[in-house]
Symmetry: D2
Subunit: 336 residues, 4 copies
């Protein structure tokens, strides 16, 4: 019988739990041997329920465990690059939640460590594995709409996070838009060359007081000549709004939201349909499983990961440019 | 630690495998202790992969196993009632795939045995647990559309079964429409009182030669005064068509198909969207899990099952009336 | 300069006014010379506003006017056949609102008179000229969906007529469903051979007391082997519901309702769209103009009309069969 | 009998013909007494067909006609302001096609002349009268979506104009986007304060060689704090794309395209719907009639016009700022 891949999950918050649970349920050839969380006591029962043997408060226990082949890094963002470096040096394959870091130098250090160690490294841009967006990319790549002209991403949360969260989030562009920066790279297969940010505080003054914005239109230029705009808001009261719309010389593509049901109720007053699926857990659950499948596929078959270190770095660079553009009120090139 | 419910799966064809796999993955408190299939040799590897300890060719081994609390009957239809009787007599809770039997007397015998033994019994009308149809029922029950007037079910398969299958299927009304007979009972909360079948062989002559039809409009009268029509076809080339449409005195409800993605491609020639999800495995996978959850909930909490023995019997009675109506070219009442 | 076609409009109720106004506005080569209405006094101002010279209380003045080339018969149904006969004998081309008559013998007499006189005769089945349904027929005729299997027409009014109207209407099948009987003939290019009516009084008891039904599912068999069902209700509170749905061996066609706008409002509670266009004036206005255009085209270019006398007769025959089926509770063939 | 309003139409190209024909057909209280066109000979037959008495090659004949109450200015853009001045001085009410002029000083001169003369003046921003956009504005104004946050206009032509046209068009921002600049003012009820243009030549190099762009994303800031983006392209191969999408604190509004039919064809390969209505004549025909109705309503009832001189000026100012932004690669405020 084939030996199972042994995995350690570092950070058992919301996303860490999702990944651990997905692996236990759906990956018979993978075993979650250990979980590390600074609040180890609080995750014990949950881990036991999944049959995970070890729960540590110190992630280093996982790094030091020679039997563990791969780590899933789901701890707070400020620890990602450091843990990546340590895990790489210990020869472990790495799945790292986004963003790798808010600091570009530290990202480079982490990626250097990965390169040196020759381990697999995948960043958690799960939306690439979403059924809708995957098909958009396929249609673009197979030439269905010709050359790209306009790329639009709509990405709005159902409700704003607390101001406390906003303060440590790295700002909307690195916390929320970063997914969309990845999405435009993924869809277009091209790099962003210039960014202009038109943003405002229109949802919650506390977000403004925390030094951030909550509503933005980020205008983009791409290397391949196309132009684009990302549309973000921390609050869309009708629910999680996740769409893209692409115009090319031979056609257009649009994606509408997924809804819980297709039921339409028509009464004397209105024709009513479902709101979109509530938030990312409902909307993207399938993609969390698929990205993990791709990661283990890379590990087992010694293939390149489908979301590389560079794919982790670039959205951070675009995010920093978007922030600068907002602060300076001018278009900012990615070369600056 | 709480003792796990021990389960035996009888019949490991397509649907048996789905149930077994669902239980293993998603029910940590349930254990599939054994599987029985007349082709035991062919299912061994699959069972091992799921960690199922025992694979028998004779289902009686499961019936005789005192540790087994419940059976999931997924064998061929002609064996359902017999196994139900034996399992009931052995004191096991029973989840039985639809239909219970093609023979009304044998259904009664099976239900009598269940009643006598006091075990739980649930029939596999999984579509009741579908997200779309569940919401339709909720809207009807909460009075959103007032009194029911017209109930329409559209239920078409993507491709016809082989004529060989048709011959042993019990005929379209008991094999395919039976789901829809259950659906109208579930949605309306009322009983069918009269049936008129308008049917033809329009897909495949071999189906006609096998003594069956492949296309039908089955007109219904309900006890609550509403009227309805079920629309069946063994072949809709654009895919599995599963919709309902209800008219009431205060409004209407409609359900459209689920599609793999929401992507729309617009080109010089057309605006194109996805076809429906391909077939019942793609379309109803979630409902197979939910019905099982409800079954174990009934077992553990000693509650009535949500799809009772009567719910298993009635659609067979309607199906037989539909068949008679077709054969005699006249409306047939359920009282006859 | 070419001589204008001179027209007399007989009956200036709602539909008569629509036709007269359409001709005045959109047919520069046609002149409405006279209008006849038993309430001549009440339509005088309206006629003057359109520049119509003569308003008579007796339609015979129009029949006797040698200058008048064609009549548009919009009077009450019981007068259609008589006026048709007189107009034909006077050599006038005839556009006659539906139905020609409730009495089959009188229809035959009228059609005989038309034939003998060699005048053009078109029946007012305007829905044939609707943008949606015209395209459905084109797709069927060009083979887009192969051989027809299932034909469904949904046709529901937003609100029931007063019981007073119902009493003189000829009954729902001849008053309302007659449009749908024409539609299935138009769409399929085939004849109805058998009818089974499943109907009830579910909207307004007064309609039942007037001897009529208000909700019906009329099951159909066609000469080409296809089967179908017409779905009627005198009241759909969400508005005028006018759809068709066709299944063929190579595909399916569906038509949804036209709405006043495409605006969708999404709020915290719901995603809301427009109800359908309110009633036939809003929904079918364009088709009233088009049918008139086709009529004058037949007159001017001496072509067969696009809705012939037979097309006027057949739906009445189907309607009478539908009525009989309802009364006798059995399928009725059109040959009986 | 009330005296009819006498109208002169100046310029009988495509849009002039539409207005003249609309008035003749639908405004019984208005008479098109004369048409002026520099190619008088070419429009003679068309005018005769509509019963228009006079066709002049010199528009001054209309200005000098004391009986004429109002002029409809549909001549080439470079003549609008001059004719406006002359018509105002002659005391005639004025409906003027957009834009009033490409030169801001000349617009001011025209508006001054209008003011001095006290005549009515309406600019041809017909899209304000479109069923879809009118409803969007209503929903915004009645508070359905709370405070505005993001305003998006999608406005794409089905096919690019010839480069010859582009050269004299005033450039995309003044020729095409000007409608969208008006739309955002109309929808938001707020003024644009800053513009940033992200544009490119992606459709036709000849357009670039003519000194223009063909694809643009124009980022906007509004006085009320909202932000917005207009999305333009000279070519959307799938047809005329005319949509808006608004996000507010209490909800979102979206408008999709109008299509010729609601027919959906589902086959083995795809689910296909109609492309949008082809171009502005098909899409906006109704609005041309409605804007005229509003104009005559202002004239007859001595009310302010619904699209004022300021409404004609502002979009030109925004267009010029958009052009400057593109040329200088920076955001441009409307105050500069």
């Amino acid at each position: 019988m084939k030996k199972k891949i042994q995995v350690g999950v570092i950070g058992a918050g919301r996303i860490g739990k999702i990944h651990a649970s997905n692996i236990v349920k759906n990956f018979p050839d993978v075993e979650v041997k250990a979980v590390a969380d600074i609040y180890a006591e609080q995750v014990k029962d949950w881990a036991a329920g999944l049959g995970i043997q070890h729960v540590y408060s110190d992630y280093k226990k996982i790094i030091e465990d020679k039997e563990i082949d791969a780590v899933i890094i789901c701890s707070s963002t400020d620890t990602h690059s450091q843990i990546t470096i340590e895990a790489a040096q210990a020869g472990k394959h790495i799945f790292c939640e986004k963003p790798i870091d808010y600091d570009v130098d530290r990202i480079h250090q982490a990626l250097d460590a990965v390169k040196k160690a020759g381990v697999k490294f995948q960043v958690g841009f799960n939306r690439r594995f979403d059924h809708n967006f995957k098909k958009v990319r396929e249609l673009i790549q197979n030439g269905s709409i010709g050359e790209l002209q306009i790329v639009k991403v709509i990405s709005r949360d159902p409700a704003p996070p607390p101001a406390e969260y906003v303060k440590v989030s790295g700002g909307m562009f690195l916390d929320m838009t970063i997914h969309d920066f990845d999405m435009v790279r993924y869809l277009t297969g091209s790099e962003v060359t210039e960014v202009y940010t038109n943003a405002a505080v229109l949802v919650d003054k506390a977000i403004g007081e925390a030094g951030d914005v909550d509503t933005a239109l980020i205008s983009l230029k791409f290397k391949n000549g196309a132009i684009g705009v990302i549309d973000n808001c921390r609050q869309a009261v009708y629910g999680y709004d996740q769409r893209v719309e692409i115009l090319g010389t031979k056609g257009g593509i649009s994606v509408s939201n997924d809804a819980p049901t297709t039921v339409v109720l028509s009464t004397e007053t209105a024709v009513t349909a479902d709101k979109p699926k509530y938030f990312f857990l409902e909307r993207y659950m399938e993609s969390f499983e698929t990205e993990m499948k791709e990661f283990f596929n890379s590990v087992v078959n010694d293939k390149d990961t489908v979301v590389s270190g560079i794919d982790g770095l670039k959205p951070v660079l675009i995010g920093l440019a978007a922030k600068k553009s907002y602060e300076e009120g001018r278009p900012v090139t990615l070369q600056e």
